[in-house]
Amino acid sequence: MKFLFKSTVLLLPLAFIAMFYILLTEEDAYPGTDYKTFDVPKFQLENLENTKLIDNDEIKGSFILNVWASWCITCRVEHPFLMNLKNQGIKIIGLNYKDERSDAIQWLDKYGNPYEITVHDLKGSLALDLGVTGAPETFLVSNGKVVAHYQGEVNDAIWSNVFLPIIKEKGMF
């Protein structure tokens, strides 16, 4: 009984300290990562080429939704990696964010188009519903549900640490 009391007195506070140590050092290795799951918001927007309306039914299955703009420097940095993904056979949907249509088309012509479909979100309405704060941002979508979200440039490290574990877990692509 006495032993129990003594050990509780010593161990309980230390357990608290240890817990806070774990909480504090559990640094997001990749800040900007969010694994919250939610439905892709309802939307209806023109495609970039202005040839048809895109809504939720147009984009089905598993894909990557990449928010980009021609004015965004980091998107330019990120671009080769996306081309790379496309060549691996990964479906990428572009969300052109608050951008002039002509600028965006020119940009894709110049550097290459990694996107199967590009949605033109001039007012950023879909982006707002998705919780986009800027460009570039990337969402992993599985059957109409966002399962991962990353703010900032996607590169090899981010791809294999933030997205690949989820992709493997869910058996996507």
């Binding site: 006495k2 003594k6 007195v9 010593l10 506070p13 230390l14 608290f16 300290i17 817990m19 806070f20 140590y21 774990i22 909480l23 504090l24 050092t25 559990e26 640094e27 694994y35 919250k36």
Partner: protein, 628 residues
């Protein structure tokens, strides 16, 4: 150049404190060593104080070559706020925190004679704690950083919500309370090291602990008042994580004072008293950790840095390991002789310790649970008022009932408990009568309200009878206990009335029109844009007429501060003893109407008054000549 002197003095002081700490633990206790420790500590503190005074002077003279001052002060500020800007952010407030630890140590040092057997090691413990914090300041949050080669011409301004007299005083008061418990902690450690159970460390620390408790009580009350009128939240307590980490040391300190009053007289509850003295101090440090590590998002959170959090956590860990190991080693020495008599004051106070312990534990749970939950499930949840109400209301009410019956108990004597003693009967009858009147008057059947009021009245009547007896029959009364518990009764009453009666409504009002709310007629007279020295504001003017035909003018504002672009809401409050009329303006609607939030807060002043009354009780104890 001058800042380097200040910086250097701080480093020098750190060295001296380290020396004091080492001497006190290594050297054998002789009169010479005791004098040496005492004198060196005082010198260390004086160096530190000079360093701080220089720092204040630099802030007053707008020396923006100091990074911290450049970031938090401004030439436009009145001198008062130039000084208070020092504790408006992390580095400077940490500096103040350290100064206060030093100040407590210094005053303790010059008040206690050197032949007091516990003194040298107590001063040693305080010095080592100072070293710990000074290293934290110098290594992770240096307020002495300078901007080279060219200093900015003007500073970045203090956060506008902090440009307020209450807030200039609130943090220092709270800090004084927090760190004041370094004295009982240091003495407890010194006592444990000393190992002689006949040494009465409890006597040594009582008044110091009460004084620290007074500061903590006033600090929390001031914070509550500030949040009410400045943040526009319109209530007195929000169970915000940072409020909670201030509440935990207070609860622990209150339990500690109760427990101390027993241990001072006998060997009972010594285990409790020592454990509580360790808890109060570590909970104070824990509060600092929570606020400064940025582990919790809150209105109070300082610019955060995980390194700081880690340092503080390790510091708390070391303090806990050392003090608790000492406690366990000396456990057999502090165990009580004999049992506590049933229904004696001691027994009531040990029950009280258990109540307070469970309150502290539940607040701790409320603070940590969301963090653990987020870690495990990656979802944010918040633990708010419903959780705390569910725990606090029953525990506080039951504890207060125990308090009511404890008034008749005697020290180390069985209480011949007689339910039919007149003070008990009279208070019960008076309370029941008042509650019946209340039911009739307010037409309420809210059970929580009625029970809380009943319990509050029981305490108030019981202590009033006691005070009456002490005047007319010269019956002994402990004034500290009587006033503090009267304040508790008053607090229960005012919180109950506040939650029963207070109402709030968001009105949409057109300019030059009248809206009615409850018994008030609210006339929206005017709204205009005003330019001030450091902010623009939208200022509205309302005439409010109550049922008795009294008209008051209220003009709430919304301000936009130019330097930081921050928008603040300035509430307008009409204060009367019974209720506050509390108005804030929101946004303009598309149809031209303005959203105006009107709150009627009943008895809210009484809540703060109760807090002050409690603090008053502490002051009474400190100045009372008689031993209590």
């Amino acid at each position: 150049m001058i800042i380097e002197i200040s910086h250097f003095l701080s480093i020098l002081a750190t060295g001296l404190f380290l020396l004091v700490g080492l001497i006190s633990f290594i050297a054998t206790d002789t009169k010479y060593i005791a004098n040496l420790i005492s004198r060196t500590f005082s010198h260390g503190f004086l160096l530190l104080l000079i360093s701080f005074v220089i720092y204040i002077w630099l802030a007053i003279t707008d020396n923006f070559s100091v990074q911290y001052i450049a970031n938090h002060s401004n030439t436009e500020l009145p001198v008062f706020y130039k000084i208070s800007s020092i504790w408006s952010a992390h580095e400077g407030s940490m500096f103040l925190w350290i100064i206060f630890i030093g100040l407590w140590g210094f005053i303790f040092n010059i008040n206690i004679k050197n032949d007091e057997v516990l003194k040298p090691k107590s001063i040693g413990v305080i010095s080592l704690i100072l070293v710990g914090f000074l290293l934290f300041l110098l290594l992770t949050s240096n307020p002495f950083e300078i901007i080279l080669p060219i200093a900015p011409l003007n500073g970045a301004d203090i956060n506008p919500v902090l440009q307020d007299p209450a807030l200039a005083i609130h943090p220092p008061t709270l800090y004084l309370g927090y760190v004041g418990f370094v004295i009982p902690f240091a003495c407890a450690i010194s006592f444990l090291i000393n190992g002689n159970p006949d040494v009465r460390w409890e006597k040594l620390v009582q008044k110091w602990s009460v004084l620290a408790w007074v500061f903590l009580t006033i600090g929390i009350t001031l914070g509550s008042w500030w949040a009410y009128y400045e943040l526009g939240w319109g209530g007195y307590w929000f169970w915000d994580p940072v409020e909670n980490v201030a509440l935990m040391p207070w609860l622990a300190a209150t339990a500690f004072l109760h427990s101390l009053s027993v241990s001072i007289k006998s060997s009972h509850l010594r285990v409790w008293t020592i454990l509580l003295s360790i808890s109060v101090f570590s909970l104070s440090l824990f509060g600092a950790f929570i606020v400064r590590s940025g582990i919790i998002d809150s209105v109070h959170s300082f610019a955060n840095d995980p390194d700081r959090g880690l340092y503080l956590l390790m510091f708390i860990g070391i303090i806990l390991i050392i003090s608790l190991s000492l406690f366990i080693l000396r456990f057999s020495m502090i165990r009580p002789i004999g049992n506590i008599k049933r229904f004696s004051k001691e027994s009531f106070i040990s029950i009280n310790n258990i109540f307070f312990g469970s309150l502290i534990f539940s607040v701790m749970l409320g603070v940590t649970y969301p963090l653990v939950y987020e870690y495990l499930f990656d979802q944010k949840i918040s633990v708010g008022a419903p959780f705390y109400n569910a725990i606090f209301i029953p525990i506080v009410l039951i504890a207060s009932l125990f308090l009511f019956f404890s008034v008749d108990s005697k020290w180390s004597r069985n209480l011949n408990f007689n339910f039919f003693r007149s003070p008990i009967i009279v208070s019960i009858i008076l309370s029941i009568a008042s509650v019946i009147l209340l039911i009739y008057f307010f037409q309420t059947n809210n059970l929580t309200f009625l029970i809380s009021v009943y319990v509050g009245l029981l305490i108030i009547f019981r202590y009033c009878i006691e005070i009456f007896n002490s005047f007319y029959f010269k019956k002994f009364i402990n004034p500290f206990s009587a006033i503090a518990h009267l304040a508790l009764g008053l607090l229960l009453l005012s919180i109950s009335f506040n939650s029963l009666l207070s109402t709030e409504r968001a009105l949409s009002i057109r300019l030059d029109s009248i809206e009615e709310y409850k018994d008030l007629k609210i006339y929206f007279k005017d709204i205009k844009v005003v330019k001030n020295s450091n902010h623009d504001s939208i200022k509205a003017l309302f005439f409010i007429e109550n049922s008795r035909g009294n008209i008051v003018e209220l003009s709430p504002e919304k301000r936009r501060y130019r330097t930081r672009g921050q928008i603040t809401t300035e509430t307008a409050i009409h204060i009367s003893p019974l209720r506050d009329i509390y108005i804030t303006i929101g946004d303009q609607l598309d149809n031209g109407n303005w959203v105006v939030n009107v709150q009627l807060n009943y008895f809210i002043r009484w809540i703060w008054f109760s807090g002050c009354l409690m603090a008053m009780a502490g002051i009474v104890l400190i100045f009372s000549k008689r031993k209590v």
